[in-house]
Amino acid sequence: MRGQPPRHPDDPKAELSELEGTIADASALKPGDRLVYPAQGVCVVVGPETQEIAGHRLEMVRMRREEDGAAVLVPRGKVASVGLRRVASAELMEGVFHYLAADLADPELNWKIRHRDNADRMVAGGVLGIAEVVKGLHALSRLRPLPTKERGQFDNARHLLVAEVAASLGVSPGLAEDLIDFALMPPAGTRFKLKPPPKPILLPSRPPRRRLVVDDEGDGLDDLGLDELGIEGLGEEAAVEGGAEATGDAAEGDGADASEGVEAPVTGASPAQASGAPLKLVPALAAAVKAAVKPAAAAKKGPAPKKAPARPAKAPAKAAAKKASGKPAGKPATKKKTAKPSATKGGKKK
């Protein structure tokens, strides 16, 4: 049989076909109507009501949740958008049972996709969407125990399904649950004559998440007042050049040289920057540089400004010197080892 129905790739939400029994207009509601409020359960319409909230008179529809009698108030204008729908018909419910009893070969294994889709199905999928959540998580539970969050989601979905089956078939919730599990886990030797299950619910497509990049995110150095300090080498280009050189040297040397790292500029490590792409400082780093530069700006008014050496330029010079001296690569590492005698003595201090 089919697996979990895929999320609809292209259609925007507005173009998806409406679920059976969706309430489009508040005027269609009459006192005593039984409705399903998504993710809340079966409610009974009490009647229209006017309430004054924050100085505004609002026309509301008052409902009562059948499960515990909780009051639910929906503004008349939002009846269509909250997804209120009538209790599923007996024909649709029969299709749901045939879906529950069918085999499910491949539950979604990616928990992020599964959890997101299941949450959407419970809100916008109607009774079949809830049944898909129950069946999908039940099939997964046969493979491995569900994580705590999905265990709760499974219980919520089951609760909603039991309530709607009970309301639709006119049976008690206890019997409705037995009927659901009879379809999901039939006793040994039981065979059903199944009809083709209904079509899967099409979920609204979600645009992929994109990281917002602010245009002047990397231009924080313009506001630092570096020109007033007479610092010319700390421009973007100088930093990139130094980084590129350092990266090139590190790439030429062996692994120990490359991992020496403390003095080599980290900003020059990316190949994009080495190829001349503009350097972008994260805001936190820019703020740190600004804070470090402020005292120097205050001292500028006194003696003649000294030219601060560009820090990234250190690394290429040092790397070149290292190359020229031809020292073995592992030497700095051995120095570090000898520098920590107390650590090797197991914490004994004299």
Binding site: E67, M93, E94, F97, H98, A101, H138, S141, R142, P145, L146, T148, R151, G152, F154, D155, R158, H159, V162, L169, V171, S172, P173, G174, L175, E177, D178, L179, D181, F182, A183, M185, P186, P187, A188, T190, F192
Partner: protein
């Protein structure tokens, strides 16, 4: 408090064992209130409709939030759904105060100590199951949990009578929120 009423004779030692188990699992006072007669009429083809029997079972004196468990040996039936009628080991008013358990589906009690012990464990498991429904517990997918469906093909021959962590915590929450 959980009160047990028997609609069919039950061995006193079995009743004592059941009371102890229920008290340990739910952390609530449990007592056997006595034997009650099976209501007359209502049986069709020798079996009772579970909902009708539960409604017709005699009144038991108690207080608010008491949970009543009726135990009978009569076979029970449930109304059929779109795919047929499920086997009935018992019936409970979900979130309510009354539950019914039948011994008809239980394995034979036997005469050996081992078989009697296994029978008592199964009785306790089914009692925990139907009383769990009274605390709003749904069926659980965990085969080691007492809330797993009694007819499930995945259930072992000697299922445990304890609840899984999720069901136990949920029932404890409900018990704490009870008015009394």
């Amino acid at each position: 408090m959980i009160r047990i009423a028997t609609l069919s004779p039950l061995d006193p030692t079995d009743t004592v064992a059941l009371v102890k188990t229920l008290r340990a699992i739910f952390g609530l006072g449990t007592e056997h209130v006595g034997d009650l007669p099976l209501p007359r009429g209502g049986a069709k083809d020798g079996s009772w409709d579970a909902e009708e029997l539960l409604a017709a079972a005699g009144p038991v004196r108690g207080v608010a939030d008491d949970k009543l468990l009726f135990i009978t040996a009569a076979p029970l039936t449930l109304a059929a759904g779109p795919l047929g009628a499920p086997p009935s080991w018992g019936f409970a008013r979900y979130g309510g105060d009354r539950a019914l358990l039948t011994l008809d589906q239980m394995p034979a009690r036997g005469v050996t100590e081992a078989s009697i012990e296994a029978w008592r464990r199964r009785l306790a498991r089914e009692a925990v199951h139907v009383i769990g429904h009274l605390w709003d517990l749904h069926h659980c997918y965990d085969v080691r949990c007492a809330m797993h469906p009694s007819w499930s093909p995945h259930l072992g021959p000697a299922p445990d009578s304890s609840l899984c962590t999720f069901c136990r915590e949920k029932s404890e929450r409900k018990i704490r929120l009870a008015k009394s």
